[in-house]
Symmetry: C2
Subunit: 342 residues, 2 copies
Amino acid sequence: MIQGKQSITFEQAPYILESASIVGTKEGEGPLGKLFDMIGEEDHFGADNWEDAESSLQKDAVFLAMKKANLAATDIRYLFAGDLLGQSIASSFGLMNYQIPMFGLYGACSTCGESLGLGAMTVASGHATHVLCVTSSHFASAEKEFRFPLEYGNQRPLSASWTVTGSGAFVVSSADYVEAQKKHVRAKITGITTGKIVDYGLKDSMNMGACMAPAAADTIYQNLCDFTRKPESYDKIITGDLGYVGQTALLDLLEEKGVDISRQHMDCGIEMFDQDSQDTHAGGSGCGCAATVLSAYLLKQLEEGNWKRILFVPTGALLSKTSFNEGQTVPCIAHGVVIESV
Amino acid sequence: MIQGKQSITFEQAPYILESASIVGTKEGEGPLGKLFDMIGEEDHFGADNWEDAESSLQKDAVFLAMKKANLAATDIRYLFAGDLLGQSIASSFGLMNYQIPMFGLYGACSTCGESLGLGAMTVASGHATHVLCVTSSHFASAEKEFRFPLEYGNQRPLSASWTVTGSGAFVVSSADYVEAQKKHVRAKITGITTGKIVDYGLKDSMNMGACMAPAAADTIYQNLCDFTRKPESYDKIITGDLGYVGQTALLDLLEEKGVDISRQHMDCGIEMFDQDSQDTHAGGSGCGCAATVLSAYLLKQLEEGNWKRILFVPTGALLSKTSFNEGQTVPCIAHGVVIESV
């Protein structure tokens, strides 16, 4: 059901039946390390190059999510998948062997929210019983794609974020299936707020948090309006990868609109690493950041009943190396997903 | 309604309310020249660089489609948009000023089919009254992205295709709206067949037609199975940009499965240019090829009653410059859309 200006409420809320998270070595050493399903022994994951390493992350995350859900590839009607690389090659090469009809997505680091939004819409409207939403990022492939190959040894300002090496995959299933089969589920998706592009004219690709904060503020504010909710209506409002710099900007921007989310706000990029001991500067980022933290940590809190309802808002910076070199701004987008415990 | 293994039938078929096509100079000089809504005077379209030129194509195509439909940006619930460039910057920079919630897509040259598929699903399920599906490509930005900047003056083999400079935008609207308002429409979308990635191991980025033919064959074959139809059930089966080389491969591949579509087959890339006089080798290609030909030519045939039902199958090659340089294959995908006259 259409809800307000940018949102949907699902009358028959689709479920997150199962999910899986796979991360690299550095993420495994971070504060959430013990919660991930799999931690690579080294960040090549057996591949010859970084792009292939990222593909293998997606492949394994999807395999694991289907295995946990006791489903075969033929049970999955659609893949909603994306990553940060040009022409989304991590997804295409990682997922092609599954032979599942696929919708390729690009929303930069917001893609996890975009995929869950489209996946939930598809399941809720009866166009599928099960879909799989998967996203990834890899530190080394992202540095090469957006900044410099690692071999350059370039310096990073304190405002820079650290792209997470990881992939998260989510099986989204219909209420009819879950209720008929009396399945255990992780959580349910009760609504979404789809973001629009917001551009405050910032151009610093080494300060993505500040660039993305206005988009996150816009989507969160619109979500509260569309659902006539207050920040307290959520146990947590969780952005994808604003990091420390972006968090401050987000709280300020919402305060200007009379909304105080300082008690509810949490950021996957901040949760992922220990800033002091891991030298990760502003925090984690990437399509894989929000996805792996959702799978490993956020859904666990909902399952254990510590939280009842969260607003999950992955944020994306829609720049490319070309647009950056041409002196363009960094337009951003954030997609909100309302997830509730069962 | 779920139909067969990979398809959907829309019980309340959404309509293509209006559409618009904008092309570059070379396309304007081709056999379809007179049918496009707008032809640029020169291929920069007033911009400083090729990426920006492509952005302005999308911006103008969307503007024109909304104007024809007598709708404002606030009437459009979602944009489903994509292009060929890394991180889809043509779409992000072109569309941000409209402030419409956006789903960014990547399916290479198949993106027009992907966007119409997701757009139709969204409208048919009541999640929107109007959505806008838009894709683009630009010869110069695509050469720079996938091969060499134009300044190199590299030679092109006869199997190479010529990326179309153009953008097509489609307003997809609900049956309820169209019937209540007694609106004139261009056509209706009665079903879709979403493609899976098909990779025959080919590696030649200068012969995209041969690379993509197996994906087109797979989706067309599956469409016929899912809907229990024969080639004659369609007046035309129209691929996006296989070109002359790909067309031969497609007909052969389907013949091996006992399906002869030689009388129905048409290819947007072949229609776009005059091979002899325009020196375009294998034919036109790109996200903008299928989109502009659909808007300017194919929908016109349906409107005029020359055709009753077509299967529109944009095809995409999911490679990047990086995957090509790393010696990878060219995985491909094709998305089918069943479009009928009203």
